[in-house]
């Protein structure tokens, strides 16, 4: 036990001596850092100091930007609040105005208006040069059509022709060089009974063939009418039932019309062949009373089939007739028949024509038979897909007429021409007509016409 205590004393002494030695050796180790290491550390400390300074400056700049952003946000919030107040004020003012002012009238849809009036029609100006004569502007025509619709089933329509036309050169020198005439082409009241039938009454365009209803200047591709149309009246005063009904499921239609009109009359109250007046059985009687010149109206009608194969491809075939007494004495019958055909083969090719025959009795010549026919073909050059300027607006047309008047006269006419479509409603038409006639006053001529459909 005594030995163990002695050993501990020795251990304690060694530790104390070691500590003392260590404490004495430490200053010697610090004194051993080289000057280079010290300078390196000094540089490092200086660099760190610079970086701290740079970061401090950066922080100050960011602090300034942040303060600016805060200010902008505050300004925007102020503006938003102001805008909101303005909108609220406007809404309050609108509500106040709506409570004090009457409600604005809601416009009525125009399509629901039950009555409507409007004007359609056409206008033409014509220049002609007949062989052996001076050329001139021979006609100006204004042909308005007035339409008044009352509801879904009633329509009143009337067409006028205001024509300024040169008088013949061999007329009486006392007569003016030109005359303005006003004709009532038609004026009829239409009542649509149902989908298939309409009652018409008034001055009617007669469905003797199709020409009289398709003769407006911008519809007819020639500036003048077929010669044979002179054998039948274009209009008459009376009443008519007309319409169309589907034939099967192909889209084909059966067209029909039946009518009674005053009909032709005598221009001089006689039954002479030359006094037949197709203009109508309305006029001044010999007793100075305006009334029918005779009491027997004529009757007529048309039946036709229209077959559309597809849009722009169709065929129409029709037969029509009219008959009645024409002279005042009621001794002579006037009868006319027309066969008509129209064919479309695409949007560029059209062919149509009519055969017309009329027969009437007379005091001096007995039965007079007039007959004639015309055929017309038109082809729009747009069908050729040519790229020449303006050529796609041009349609070439040709027509042949032949008439025999039943009193020894006959005329054959061959016409060539063209239609230039300035627009779909403004047409420039031209034709050169070669005539062979028993009438020596007839001659070849060239006709130019500007037509507008409105």
């Amino acid at each position: 036990m005594k030995k163990h205590m002695k050993t501990s004393r020795w251990m304690t002494g060694l530790v104390a001596v070691g500590c003392a030695a260590g404490m004495g050796a430490a200053p010697r180790a610090a004194a051993e850092v080289s000057q280079a290491d010290f300078d390196s550390l000094k540089d490092l400390v200086l660099k760190l100091s610079d970086q701290v300074q740079s970061l401090r400056q950066t922080n100050q700049l960011e602090q300034q930007l942040h303060e600016q952003d805060v200010q902008q946000i505050q300004q925007l919030q102020a503006k938003l609040a102001e805008t909101s107040r303005t909108a609220t004020d406007a809404q309050q003012k609108a509500v106040a105005a709506s409570q004090t002012a009457p409600m604005p009238r809601v416009p009525i849809d125009e399509a629901t208006v039950n009555h409507n009036f409007q004007i359609l029609g056409d206008a033409e100006v014509q220049y002609a040069k007949t062989s052996g004569q001076n050329g001139s502007f021979v006609m100006a025509d204004f042909a308005p059509i007035f339409l008044y619709r009352g509801g879904d089933n009633v329509l009143f329509e009337s067409g006028f022709d205001f024509i300024l036309q040169n008088n013949p050169q061999n007329s009486n020198p006392a007569t003016p060089g030109a005359t303005t005439t006003v004709n009532l082409s038609f004026a009829q009241l239409d009542y649509v009974i149902n989908d298939y039938l309409t009652l018409c009454a008034g001055n009617l365009l007669l469905p003797l063939g199709t020409y009289s209803e398709r003769s407006a200047g911008w519809l007819n591709k020639f500036p003048d009418s077929p010669l044979a149309r002179g054998f039948v009246p274009g209009n008459g005063v009376g009443a008519e039932l007309r319409g169309a009904a589907p034939l099967g499921e192909s889209g084909a239609l059966l067209n029909y019309a039946v009518y009674g009109v005053n009909g032709p009359s005598s221009s001089d109250n006689t039954g002479q062949a030359g006094s037949l007046d197709l203009g109508g059985n309305v006029g001044l009687r010999s007793d100075n009373v305006v009334a029918n010149l005779h009491g027997n109206p004529t009757g007529g009608g048309r039946v036709a089939v229209f077959v559309p194969f597809k849009p722009h491809y169709d065929l129409e075939l029709g037969l029509s007739a009219q008959s009645g007494e024409w002279d005042n004495a009621g001794q002579h019958l006037w009868t006319a028949g027309v066969a008509d055909a129209t064919l479309h083969l695409g949007p560029n090719l059209e062919a149509k024509g009519e055969y017309i025959v009329s027969r009437y009795g007379s005091d001096d010549l007995g039965n007079v038979t007039q007959q004639g026919w015309w055929a017309q073909v038109g082809y729009k050059l747009a069908g050729l897909n040519l790229e020449f300027p303006g050529i796609n607006n041009l349609e070439l047309v040709g027509r042949y007429d032949s008439v025999r008047d039943g009193m020894g006269g006959s005329t054959q006419r061959t016409s060539f021409g063209g239609v230039y479509y300035i627009s779909n409603a403004l047409l420039f038409e031209g034709a050169y007509e070669f005539l062979h006639s028993t009438d020596p006053t007839q001659a070849d001529q060239i006709i130019l016409q500007l037509s507008y459909g409105f």
């Binding site: 399509a111 007309r242 589907p246 009757g299 009608g301 722009h312």
Partner: protein, 100 residues
Amino acid sequence: MQTTMVAALGALLLGVIALTPGCADQAAATGTSATASTRHQLTGAELYSIHCNRCHPERYPTERTAAQWKTITLHMQVRANIPGNQARMILKYLQDNSGR
């Protein structure tokens, strides 16, 4: 005399047509009409091309207002012998595309 008989027969025929709207309307309502059962129902645009181009260059629907087209279509329904149902389809096409 013959003229009178022909006119009377024609008037009789059209009188029968005039008195049959009920039958036609009933057939249309039940979907048994010829038009309704057509394999390819013609559209208003097709009917417009079929009928209007027969006599004149087609007019643009925008040339007229809806009310004007209603009057013009009624005018042409009578003038060009267009059945009423087809005229209504043409009118709808024109009004849908009309000028305002």
